[in-house]
Symmetry: C2
Subunit: 292 residues, 2 copies
């Protein structure tokens, strides 16, 4: 019987790409999984761990004969990788990615390909850990996690159904929305919280009482520092790639924080309690929607 994918090429075999490869191997839905990346030591390790079947260091060589190509590289590397693989892609290739921002990847694709390839269906798995690298990858990372696909009007149905099926075999729940809407929602739920966590930890780390502050880190701050332990370069890329939407929600947040600051200055008990109570109500109301 023919498999879902004959040859899957994953460019960037780290936590995200490696975990998908592991899950698809377990589901036995790929004829062959080819890895590609800049670090040959990592690629050798990926073969030894059984995550991929073989590798190529040259992206063009790696995508040769692939029916599906997954870009799992940092957002800042997307355009360069697309340029490298463009001459070697099959005409009917299905091209997808895992980037945390989607409009910027579409812009990269437009810049490289001109007209967008009909097999292009971008995606974003809402999953991850603070770790990185192929050794941190595991087959169950996407179990019950959401994957957002952002098909275009011109995307072909076969590409969309193949990419969706691939993620479902990895255990994920697939949802669809526009790239623009994805970027707005993720700016609010993920990118802004990371900006606040990084800024808070940096802000406190530069205070005189630093070591003490970290020593007495209570519940609240410990959660913030956990967020701020994510890869700094990766989050820098994400924030720049989605800066328009991020600036939009950040501006909302700063206005609200200014208002709370004024309320504190004037000991406006009612305004403070209203803000905190609304937040707790919202959290309790939506807590069922939040996978714990």
């Amino acid at each position: 019987m023919s498999k879902l994918i004959q040859r899957l090429t994953i460019i960037g075999v780290g936590l995200i790409g490696g975990s998908l490869a592991r899950a698809l191997k377990q589901a036995d839905v790929c004829g062959e999984i080819v890895g590609c990346g800049r670090d040959e030591v990592e690629l050798k390790k990926a073969v030894e761990l059984g995550v991929i079947d073989r590798y190529a260091v040259d992206p063009a060589e790696a995508v040769c004969g692939a029916d599906v190509v997954l870009l799992a590289v940092p957002l800042s590397a997307m355009r360069g990788v697309m340029e490298s693989i463009k001459p070697a892609l099959a005409t009917d290739v299905i091209l997808t990615d895992v980037g945390s921002a989607k409009v910027s990847v579409l812009d990269d694709a437009r810049a490289v390909f001109g007209e967008l390839p009909p097999g292009l269906v971008l995606g974003h798995p809402i999953a991850g850990t603070e770790k990185s690298g192929v050794e941190a990858s595991f087959a169950t990372l996407y179990q019950k996690r959401k994957v957002i696909l952002t098909p275009l009007d011109g995307s072909n149905d076969d590409a969309l159904s193949t990419v969706a099926a691939m993620w479902r075999y990895a255990g994920a729940e697939v949802v669809e929305m526009s790239a623009e809407h994805h970027d707005l929602v993720l700016a609010a739920t993920s990118h802004l919280p990371h900006v606040l966590a990084y800024t808070l930890v940096d802000s406190l780390a530069r205070m005189d009482e630093t070591s003490e502050i970290f020593q007495y880190a209570a519940g609240g701050f410990r959660d913030f520092t956990r967020i701020a332990s994510s890869d700094a370069k990766m989050w820098h890329d994400i924030c720049l790639a989605n800066r328009t939407e991020l600036l939009n929600v950040l501006s909302h947040f700063r206005k609200d924080l200014d208002m709370l600051s004024v309320a504190l200055e004037s000991s406006d008990s009612e305004a403070i309690l209203e803000c905190f109570s609304r937040a707790k109500l919202a959290r309790d109301h939506f807590s069922k929607l939040i996978a714990e």
Copy 2:
């Protein structure tokens, strides 16, 4: 043999007061534990659960004959409770508390007692959960957690050593600092993070895409909503009680957030990466100090 405490009166038998009572019962270091609170149903439950030996609804009655009195009531209730118990306190009573801000409790005590009682040694256990009420209490809440005591120049040594020993029997590590310093450190590590979490959740909850935002809550935002699920009235009290120090760190943070916002607006890649990298470095450097 005589016990560490003959009669301990705990005013406010919820998560914090109840968990200490449970731990001291296990350690068998109190002759008797008397509970007091406004909700008689809760107090009856506390007796049934074996958390306290008996209770009184009237604070003055409850502290009668107590050698140690622990105030585990909200910060906004401290002054009123002190006024109620003042006439009934033994002259050599040891009086302590668990409030999340310390200067405001000292102010309350000065307002009620005039000169501060020599047996007054305030404290703050850095522990808790998002739950509240005596049913949520458990004996191991303070195991390996820090308790900050803020003795005064005039505090007597016996009171300090008794309060310290009480917390150590509950499994806590006791440290000492001034009330002012406590408030500065906690404003940074606990009060500001809670303000940011509440403000973010409230800010996003009022956006049009609310239900979707909560549905796609990724790692970062989920941590924020967890913080914002804490008791709103309690945190309102804490923020007002420690508003001077809180406004101080909030002002630092807002300046840093303004700078990051400017960096994003101008796509200042270097400034963003520097901020995120410093934060990650600080977090990694101090991660050993943070109990996971």
